[in-house]
Amino acid sequence: MGLWRAAKRLFHQATIGDQRYRFLFQPGPADEVVAIDCETTGLDVARDDIITIAAVKIRGDRILASERFQAILRPDARMEAEAIKVHHVFEREVEEKGRLIYKVLPELLHFIGARPLVGYYLDFDIAMLDKYVLPFIGIELPNRRIEVSSLYDERKYGDAPPGTTVDLSFNAILKDLGIPRLAQHDALNDALMTAMMYVALRDLKARGVRIPRPRSRPSVQPGGA
């Protein structure tokens, strides 16, 4: 954990607005993490909205898909600080097509608890969530973050010579780990695939197994075969 983030965590622990969420700072259940993925309307944290959130607990080597968290949000219900104060007004307007984020957040926060979060380009997902979490409980998510692309980078390119082309794309990770691409592209399937990446990469690291890299230069083929 970076120094800056550690300091921030300490600050948040001291300044948390809603005391009911102090559990975010308690030690979480041993050997449990949560894989999380959000689908958003775009990549601009300031302007775009979350459409769906999916989270899956991982206990040891088991991905608890049966205890998943899944929420579809109302895409037009932009969550502004003002709106939270008057949320009782919106409450009546909840429609079938999606829920309001302030209704979803307490469930999500209780679901993840103090567990570390696992994701692919997780900082973006958390930044999106923090946009709503900060005004809601007065702090940003303090959970430890585990970035699967970093785990992958370390296993594959950790000992690579300088100048090696690095590919950290989601597809490259799936392919190297032999994880099947799940049929439908949605937040839950992305979270599940991320969870599978995590358990596989963690095990490779524990066993000291590296992911082989293709040769950087084509090998010389005598005879032009």
Partner: protein, 600 residues
């Protein structure tokens, strides 16, 4: 909810949408590192595993039983019986869906079709598979009951009534067949019988029908299958079968009724063979036999029934050819035999001709030479490929006097090599097709007599069960190379060990049956094999034969047809294939122990 779990592969495709939803909601995913045990041997399991990624080894102690890949589900035994028979170990990094046992047990209770996957014995799984296939098949009429076929109601006449009275009754009831009541017996008389009696034998119209009726009535029950009627008609060369409900005759089914009910025409082919008066006519009939195999299979007939029908047609063909081309000297002195798979009645698609001629005495050499060439040449023209090992009438080694055969047997037994072992094997399977069957009986008696009680000789003979390993190694390639990999050799890895093991045990016990299924059944009755094991083995054998036939039909253009690509099989079939190979392995072990093959 998540669509991540693919429910379109068996057995999950049998669940309805709500059941799939229940299952999906309950699934977890487990990760296993190489060497990690998913289910220990004889242990409980809280989940049904469905491989998502990687390869799982199924092990019986040190022995590798099978390799499971993506889509494969295990272990039904642990779910249903509460204890796994084998151990399941990750071969590489594996991900598996974990379906809780309680959820699976509940689905088993609710969906009988889903439950069939979890049956523990092969035969119930096979039946389920047959039912599945049948659902998709349009022309499964052969498996219909006779009661569903149009039948003529039973009409009776007393045996003392006249030909004229019979004719009138037929006219009145618009039927061509009457049952004839005689004291203590019932027969059948047809319009053709009446006509022949009057016209050809010039019998007076007052003659009692007793004289013309035949009392060797072929009968079946209304709830018997259509194919059984077809089989009986082909075998006995009858045009009609009587229906008897256990108490009395209730009707008549004519061949034309059956043929209008089904598309196949084996009975017609049989008739054509019998009526052929030239090689050309016979050749035309022969060409239809192969086509029948496809029709029969499409209609969903079990491979054993198809093999019986085809063997019957082939033997009929050979017998007719013998009559047409053999000179009188050979017809009188000879016994035409078929050997190998043809003798066992297990050939469906023609692979080669294995036939021979046993003579009671030396015949005119010119006659013999001419017959050898004519017989084998005609068969080749009819589309029976020549035997690569030249086990054919055209080879003087396989067409000679009994005394010469018997003399050779002694050499086969005292100087055993690969060829003589093969000769013994195919000769033991021989059946007489035409001529004096007693000659074959005597020959077999001499051969078997020379081997019975000779443990070393028998063991040397049995040893061939070990010639080919059960092809589990190939499974792996298939799983990793998904479809591009090698194919399984069903014949070498599965069918041959069963056939040969049964043959060796039958030989030792003096069992005279030639069919593998019949041999196994007899060995079961003799107490050599446990009856439950016999039925498992027979089921495994039938399943392997079915796969082989289907693959032969699929690649009708050529190829050995013994090869099957597991990647092209359904999950259910692959599961059965594993079961079948497991049974083959057990049987091989039994044979090995029985003949003490470890000593060799």
């Amino acid at each position: 909810m998540t669509q991540a779990f693919d429910a379109s592969t068996p057995p999950f495709d049998r669940l309805d949408a709500r059941q799939v939803e229940t299952l999906r909601a309950a699934l977890d995913i487990g990760y296993y590192r190489p060497g990690e045990t998913l289910i220990a041997q004889n242990a409980q399991s809280e989940s049904l595993f469905i491989v998502l990624k990687g390869t799982v080894e199924e092990r019986d102690r040190d022995e590798l039983i099978a390799l499971l890949g993506p889509g494969d589900a295990f272990d039904s035994r642990a779910i249903v019986q509460g204890e796994s028979g084998h151990a399941f170990v990750a071969r590489d990094e594996c991900l598996c869906w974990l379906a809780p046992k309680v959820v699976i047990l509940d689905l088993i209770k609710r969906s009988p079709r889903f439950a069939s996957f979890f049956y523990l014995d092969i035969s119930r799984k096979l039946d389920a598979l047959e039912r599945e296939a049948e659902d998709q098949r349009v022309g499964s009429l052969m498996r219909a009951r006779l009661a569903e076929v149009f039948t003529h109601p039973a009409q009776f006449i007393d045996a003392g009534e006249s030909i004229e009275a019979a004719g009138r009754q037929m006219q009145d009831c618009n039927s061509n067949t009457l049952f004839v009541r005689d004291t203590g017996r019932v027969g059948v008389i047809t319009g053709m019988n009446l006509a022949k009696g009057v016209i050809l034998r010039r019998l007076p119209l007052e003659t009692p029908v007793r004289e013309l009726a035949h009392f060797d009535v072929v009968r079946l029950r209304p709830d018997d299958f259509v194919f059984e009627a077809l089989l009986l008609m082909t075998k006995h060369n009858k045009r009609r079968v009587a229906l008897h409900d256990g108490e009395r005759y209730v009707g008549i089914v004519e061949d034309i009724d059956l043929l209008s009910f089904i598309a196949g025409a084996t009975q017609i082919v049989a008739g054509r063979i019998d009526r052929a008066t030239s090689l050309d006519e016979l050749g035309a009939a022969a060409a239809e036999i192969n086509a029948q195999v496809r029709v029969l299979r499409r209609q969903g007939l079990k491979v054993q029934v198809i093999a019986e029908i085809v063997s019957d047609l082939n033997r009929r063909l050979l017998a007719r050819l013998f009559e047409l081309v053999a000179p009188a000297s050979i017809r009188e002195a000879g016994c035409l035999i078929v050997m190998g798979s043809e003798g066992r009645g297990e050939q469906t698609i023609r692979t080669d001709q294995d036939n021979g001629l046993i003579l009671s005495r030396p015949v005119d050499e010119a006659d013999l030479t001419q017959f050898r060439a004519a017989f084998s040449g005609a068969l080749e023209q009819f589309g029976f490929p020549p035997c690569p090992g030249r086990v054919m009438v055209s080879n003087p080694f396989w067409s000679r006097p009994l005394a010469d055969f018997v003399e050779d047997f002694r050499r086969w037994l005292t100087l055993p090599d690969e060829d003589t072992q093969l000769n013994i094997a195919i000769f033991i399977d021989a059946e007489a097709v035409a001529g004096d069957a007693a000659l074959l009986e005597q020959a077999k008696k001499a051969l078997i007599g020379g081997m019975r009680g000779e443990q070393a000789t028998l063991a040397r003979f049995a040893k061939a069960v070990d010639a080919f390993e059960t092809p589990i190694g190939l499974f792996n390639q298939l799983i990793t190379a998904e479809g591009k990999g090698d194919a399984l050799d069903l014949k070498r890895g599965g069918i041959f060990p069963i056939v040969h093991g049964a043959r060796a045990l039958a030989l030792e016990k003096g069992v005279t049956e030639t069919g593998t299924t019949a041999r196994l059944a007899k060995l079961g009755r003799l107490g050599m094999l446990r009856p439950e094991f016999v039925s498992e083995l027979v089921d495994a054998f039938q399943f392997l034969m079915t796969l082989r036939l289907d693959s032969q039909l699929a690649q009708a253009a050529g190829g050995s047809g013994a090869l099957v690509r597991p990647a092209e099989l359904s999950t259910m079939e692959r599961d059965l294939l594993r079961d079948a190979f497991r049974v083959v392995k057990q049987f091989r072990e039994i044979v090995r122990r029985h003949f003490n093959l470890g000593m060799f």
